[in-house]
């Protein structure tokens, strides 16, 4: 280490991973823009109206126009707000929604950080994302924002429990916390078949975790105006908005990886294998994104006690029982995954 120059031993890794991050982040941001467009289009189709159709062909440039609008508006910081934390909260939320992508594998070996505890990394990042919201709610120094933040913190902490048990059941069937290993373990059978109830629990918990309808109580525009980001405007609001949609895509991608075999084609035969892995992953992700949007169009908001009841009294016991059942089946049938060689 002494003979390598300082700039090489420190600079190169930083530049390398920085470039890789850009390769992930730029398409992601484009996808977020597209997603907002698709959401509005799908919702309007459900509502029997036309949706965005003025800016560009079929209104395709609408997200661009929205983004420009957000950039050019004035950022308002309330007088009594805690200035530093007020600005820190949206940045934190946005950053957390991006860094979780580091462990998502797009194809065999195509992953920024192929760490052996990828699932734990994802779980840790998702448990950190509570902070952006709590900080936003507290720093705004507003009752609505604070109530929204408290609601969302309680909600996210509660649903993380059942998400955790779902993850444990999956990793029990894989024997590894590495996301690429999890995909490869589904080579013969996607986990959606044996673990179908878990997929449902996971998807619903994802809805709660991303605060989407029917679990959007933290925002609760009818009673809390907009919850934790009432006071945010312009770019700071934009960061929350981007983070929410980036999280949506992340969660969908993770669901695809855990239950639908990630980049694997549905059947390992000729016409399917021609399509490259990332396309498959994108297709499966889109499927869940579409479901997210349709749920928003179809399901009314839950009441708070119902939300808590669902999380603690239905999902938690069920996922625990399923975990024990999985363990028993694996042991009795001798299907325990082979442990990594010493």
């Amino acid at each position: 280490m002494f003979d390598t120059p300082f700039w090489i031993s420190y600079g190169l890794p930083v530049v390398h991973s920085g470039l890789w991050s850009l390769v992930i982040i730029l398409p992601l941001l484009v996808a977020v823009a597209l997603l907002t467009y698709v959401e509005r289009k799908v919702l309007s189709a459900v509502h029997l109206r036309r949706g965005p159709n003025v800016v560009g062909p079929f209104g395709l440039f609408q997200p661009l126009a929205d983004g420009l609008k957000m950039l050019t508006k004035e950022t308002i910081i309330p007088t009594n707000a805690n200035r530093l934390l007020f600005l820190f909260a949206p940045i934190l939320t946005f950053v957390l929604s991006l860094i979780a992508w580091a462990v998502i594998p797009f194809d065999q070996g195509v992953v920024l950080a192929d760490i052996n505890v990828g699932l734990l990394y994802f779980f840790a990042i998702s448990s950190l994302s509570v902070y952006g919201i709590i900080i936003a709610g507290w720093a705004s120094n507003s009752k609505y924002a604070f109530l929204g933040a408290l609601r969302s913190a309680a909600q996210m902490v509660s649903y993380e429990v059942s998400i955790g048990f779902v993850l444990v059941s999956v990793l029990l069937s894989v024997g590894s916390l590495n996301l690429s290993d999890i995909v490869m373990a589904q080579k013969n059978l996607w986990f959606v078949v044996p673990h179908f109830p878990l997929l449902i629990i996971f998807f619903v918990s994802m809805l709660a975790e991303t605060k989407r309808t029917p679990f959007d109580l933290p925002e609760g525009e009818s009673e809390l105006v907009a919850g934790y980001f009432v006071e945010y405007s312009a770019l700071t609001f934009g960061l929350f908005f981007l983070a929410e949609y980036a999280n949506l895509i992340l969660m969908s991608a993770l669901t695809a990886i855990l239950f639908l075999g990630g980049w694997l084609p549905p059947l390992n035969i000729e016409p399917f294998t021609w399509v490259p892995g990332p396309i498959w992953l994108a297709l499966k992700t889109s499927l869940f994104l579409l479901l997210f949007i349709l749920v928003r169009a179809a399901v009314p908001r839950y009441r708070y006690d119902q939300l808590m009841r669902l999380g603690w009294k239905v999902f938690l016991p069920f996922s625990l029982i399923w975990l024990v059942g999985t363990a028993i089946v694996l042991v009795v049938m001798g299907w325990l995954p082979a442990l990594p060689a010493s």
Binding site: F2, A124, W138, A153, L339, S342
Partner: protein
């Protein structure tokens, strides 16, 4: 402002000079060492922040920063499982509860401050004793020719494929009894919390899902054939104000 600052009028030369020297020092370290000192320094600074911050909410944020940096130190040491469990458990659950409590309780800073000064000598003595012991231990450890090997982990898990595997193996074989006992302790803690706080309140309406689900349309919906301008005798008696929508 000393003579130096007066002469130069600007702090920038000092900062640049320091940064250049600092980079030379840093270049002597391996990246891992550099990161270790970086995160260790942050941890210490955050720890100091916890006890000196004016606002208790800031204290909790400093605590969170300390946890994060400790997790980074774990990562550097190759204990990735511990690092992420630290984040998930302490940051994802414990510190969130701290924040909840601190944000919701209006803690009177003045009394906390007063107590701080009053108990500082005692705290310093106790802390000093503990620190002195640890230092003595370390010195003895370094000086002894055959320092004891810490072999609580049994048959050297270091050669296992990764430390998640190694930890799981140790917990579920050599320390199975202890692990399960810890589980029972947590169960007791839960039962205790419920016993001491749960109060079934009388006179509140709660939702009974099974009742709602088992309700049939035949029990609750009745089709009534009404002519225009005519009111049904029973509906008029029960709900006179609500307009009834009759349907055939």
């Amino acid at each position: 402002m000393g003579e130096f600052a007066k002469r130069h009028q600007s702090p920038w030369p000092i900062i640049v000079c320091f940064a250049l020297n600092f980079s030379k020092v840093v270049a002597l370290l391996s990246p891992i060492d550099f990161l270790f000192y970086l995160f260790a320094g942050f941890t210490l600074a955050a720890g100091v922040g916890v006890i000196t911050a004016r606002n208790p909410v800031y204290s909790v944020f400093f605590l969170i920063a300390a946890f994060l940096n400790a997790a980074a130190l774990f990562l550097l040491a190759g204990a990735e499982f511990l690092a992420f469990i630290l984040i998930i458990v302490y940051l994802g659950a414990v510190a969130v509860l701290f924040l909840f409590v601190v944000m919701m309780l209006d803690i009177n800073l003045a009394t906390v401050r007063a107590g701080f000064v009053r108990y500082l000598p005692i705290a310093a003595v106790v802390g000093g004793i503990f620190a002195a012991q640890l230092i003595i231990m370390l010195l003895i450890w370094q000086q002894s020719e055959t320092p004891p090997t810490l072999n609580a982990l049994g048959n050297s898990p270091m050669n296992q494929p990764n430390n998640v595997y190694a930890l799981g193996r140790v917990l579920y074989t050599d320390y199975f009894v202890a692990f399960q006992t810890a589980g029972i302790i947590l169960l007791i803690a839960m039962i205790g919390a419920i016993v001491l706080t749960l109060r079934p309140r009388a006179g509140i309406k709660t939702q009974v899902i099974s009742q709602q689900v088992s309700r049939k349309s035949s029990q609750s919906v009745r089709l009534v054939d009404l002519k225009l301008g005519q009111t049904h005798p029973t509906t008029a008696a029960t709900a006179p104000t609500e307009p009834q929508e009759g349907s055939a």
